[in-house]
């Protein structure tokens, strides 16, 4: 009866940007010191999934790969109204780059199949690559629409608007399809009362919580540990450097009259060469 069956959303827990995260000697981010939150870009993906369900039906499963603490963001997703969550958590996933991440998530998706739509954020604020979505679509051998800022479902197809340089395009794709949602999409709605009540209940009832937030490991999804984590990652961070501060070279005008400050800039720079 509904147009859409399973909807998967990929949500990652990232360090809060406003709190300073430490850097490990190997150049990766030390997650233990930082406050954590839902990757801001994934909030748009969550909103896209919630709107899809509202309009076309379906059941939303959030998939996240990360340490057990990532449960926090899954509870938050439930408050926003998703149906269930799967947390892929395994020590052997440590130090995964985007290829190893997309491998592990691919195996999880294969395990949870079938689905009609997968929503991803455009990118994460810690990895910041925008690669996991397309890399996963390639492994699943399905079409993708990246930088999506609007879409509708029609005749078992998704009609989507995607950002391109200098404008946008409308495309039509068959289902199943993977969509990465641009940050020009609608902001995530407030938590709903039903979701909030549900989470209150889960905090009291561990069995029910374990049912709605199911933690799974690599063996359960039948993933080869050699292709995960450090071993499965073809890239490494070999070195990190501090970006040199330019500093000190700025001619700072302050406390003088407005016209004399502007006069200084006009006379001391080549700005006039560019006037009409």
């Amino acid at each position: 009866m509904s147009d859409i069956g399973n909807i998967f959303v990929l949500v990652k827990q990232v360090p809060d940007q406003s709190a300073k995260a430490g850097i490990n000697p190997d150049g990766t981010i030390d997650r233990s010191k930082a406050k954590r939150m839902i990757n801001p870009f994934d909030r748009f993906a969550l909103q896209a999934a919630l709107e899809t369900k509202k309009k076309y039906g379906g059941r939303i499963t959030v998939i996240s790969m990360g340490p057990p603490a990532a449960e926090e963001i899954l509870l938050e997703s439930l408050e926003h109204g998703v149906d269930q969550c799967k947390l892929l958590s395994d020590r052997r996933l440590a130090a995964s780059d985007t290829l190893a991440t997309s491998y592990a998530i691919w195996k999880t998706v294969e395990y949870l199949k079938p689905f009609d739509l997968i929503f991803c954020g455009l990118q994460t604020t810690d990895g910041d690559t925008a690669q996991v979505g397309p890399s996963l679509a390639e492994r699943l051998d399905i079409p993708q629409v990246t930088y999506c800022e609007d879409f509708r479902i029609e005749n078992k197809k998704v009609i989507a608007r995607r950002v391109i340089e200098g404008g946008y395009q409308w495309v039509s794709s068959s289902l199943p399809c993977l969509i990465t949602v641009a940050n020009s999409y609608h902001h995530l709605e407030y938590k709903n009362i039903r979701g909030a009540k549900l989470v209150q209940e889960l905090l009291r009832n561990k069995d029910k919580k374990d049912e709605l937030i199911k933690t799974i490991n690599l063996d359960q999804v039948n993933a080869d540990p050699i292709l995960c984590g450090l071993k499965g990652s073809p890239t490494i961070v070999a070195k990190t450097d501090k970006v040199a501060e330019i500093g000190g070279s700025c001619f700072l005008q302050q406390g003088e009259s407005v016209d004399s400050m502007v006069q200084e800039v006009v006379s001391k720079t080549n700005i006039l060469e560019f006037t009409r």
């Binding site: 940007q17 150049g27 981010i29 780059d97 985007t98 290829l99 810690d126 990895g127 910041d128 690559t129 925008a130 690669q131 397309p134 890399s135 390639e138 492994r139 699943l140 993708q144 990246t146 950002v163 391109i164 200098g166 404008g167 946008y168 395009q169 409308w170 495309v171 039509s172 794709s173 292709l227 450090l230 071993k231 499965g232 073809p234 490494i236 961070v237 070999a238 070195k239 450097d241 501090k242 970006v243 501060e245 330019i246 700025c250 001619f251 005008q253 302050q254 406390g255 407005v258 016209d259 400050m261 502007v262 800039v265 006009v266 720079t269 700005i271 006039l272 560019f274 006037t275 009409r276």
Partner: protein, 383 residues
């Protein structure tokens, strides 16, 4: 047909010395017009290829090409591979991916390095190709280099060894003032996308010689699952942000969306100007995303960048700090932007900018006069 990569691959093999030193740049074209980012990548690719002692090639996909391959040679390519087919006219990820992977599968061994722009096209396509070949890909690089790498990490014994001639993919790292050098010498092609507006192109040299090779195109139903229904490019964008001489950029300090009217007025004082913005005001909907400068927006390198009410957060800075002259207007003398601007004015944008417009307009008239008189002189001279 080789769409059956969804099987598990063997862990990567060791390749100590590169046996195919080719560097490949995947070109971007819009309606047949080669995009600036491609020309920049050829500049960067040329330096990498020379350092490696290999050749630089460029892969051009589209339809009805004429002199574009020659243009790519004049910009540094030794070889241009051309895939020309009506189905490839506009960029679509699946057919473009198929053409590239089919062709790379002909290489034995594969090319050493493959580069794309980190545009909405490159960031769509590159991860699919990297995933297909199970190879490393570094996103959004701001520097590229070649150098040796010795892997000693005992946790990962299979990779231990000395690797000369690795791609150093260098990019800013999250929210910190750090640069990370990322390598993946174990598997070729070593891939990276590079931020537009950062790499330096070579001058056009039409005397350069190169080879043009046509590539066969074999598409199947599988690649035609996505159709383009409509393409809209902003026509009111008189000057593209990437090509503007002067960028007037507004931030949260403007206080409201109407502040961009004042920005526009200032921009109109200049020839070849464009409006920029910080992400914060784009998120607030004061101006469209196309104007966003920074890590998740555009990287720009104009002659003059005027930052009005912008604090200068690292994510904004990485998109504009290569500008030749940065003028910052901010009412907070401790704003981080003053650490890297060339000229700073401490004050309210609504006091400073109107005064600036006034002073510029005084000069505008006189320069127009000079231009007119010099035109007349030229006319006389040519008579």
């Amino acid at each position: 047909m080789n769409t059956n990569k969804a099987q598990e691959k063997q862990p990567m093999k060791e390749i100590i010395t590169p046996s195919n030193k080719e560097v490949v740049v995947i070109a971007e074209q819009v309606n047949g017009e080669i995009q600036t980012v491609t020309v920049e990548l050829l500049g960067a690719g040329r330096r990498l290829a020379d350092k490696l002692g290999g050749k630089l090639s460029c892969f051009l996909i589209g339809s009805e090409f004429s002199n574009q391959p020659q243009e790519l040679i004049a910009r540094g390519a030794d070889v241009v591979y051309v895939a020309d087919n009506p189905a490839l006219k506009d960029y679509r990820v699946l057919p473009y991916k198929k053409v590239i992977v089919d062709w790379i599968n002909n290489f034995c061994p594969p090319p050493h390095i493959m580069l794309m722009g980190s545009t909405t096209t490159g960031r769509d396509l590159a991860p699919r190709i990297a995933s297909y070949f199970q190879t490393g890909l570094t996103a959004d690089c701001t520097e590229l280099d070649i150098g040796p790498y010795e892997h000693t990490n005992k946790m990962d014994p299979d990779k231990i060894g000395l690797y000369p001639g690795c791609l150093y993919a260098i990019r800013p790292s999250f929210g910190e003032s750090l640069k990370a050098r990322i390598l993946g010498p174990w598997k070729n092609p070593q891939m990276a996308t590079a931020r537009p507006g950062v790499m330096i192109p070579l001058d056009i040299d039409s005397s350069r010689k190169g080879e043009i090779i046509n590539v066969p195109v074999n598409l199947t139903e599988n690649e035609l699952k996505v159709d383009i229904l409509e393409i809209v490019r902003e026509i009111n964008e008189t000057v593209k942000l990437a090509d503007a001489n002067v960028i007037v950029s507004g931030g949260f300090g403007l206080g409201n969306a109407e502040g961009f009217e004042l920005m526009n007025e200032l921009a109109n004082c200049f020839e070849g100007s464009a409006l920029g913005a910080s992400r914060k005001v784009v998120d607030l909907g004061w101006i469209s995303y196309q104007h966003q400068v920074g890590q998740t927006g555009k990287t720009v390198r104009p002659k003059i960048y005027i930052a009005c009410g912008i604090s200068g957060a690292i994510q904004h800075r990485v998109g504009m700090d290569k500008s030749s002259l940065i003028i910052a207007i901010n009412k907070d003398p401790d704003a981080p932007i003053f650490k890297f601007a060339h000229h700073g004015i401490v004050g309210d944008v609504y006091h400073i900018v109107p005064e600036m417009i006034k002073q510029l307009k005084v000069h505008t008239k006189s320069t127009t006069n000079i231009k007119e008189s010099s035109n007349t002189e030229k006319e006389y001279a040519s008579v």
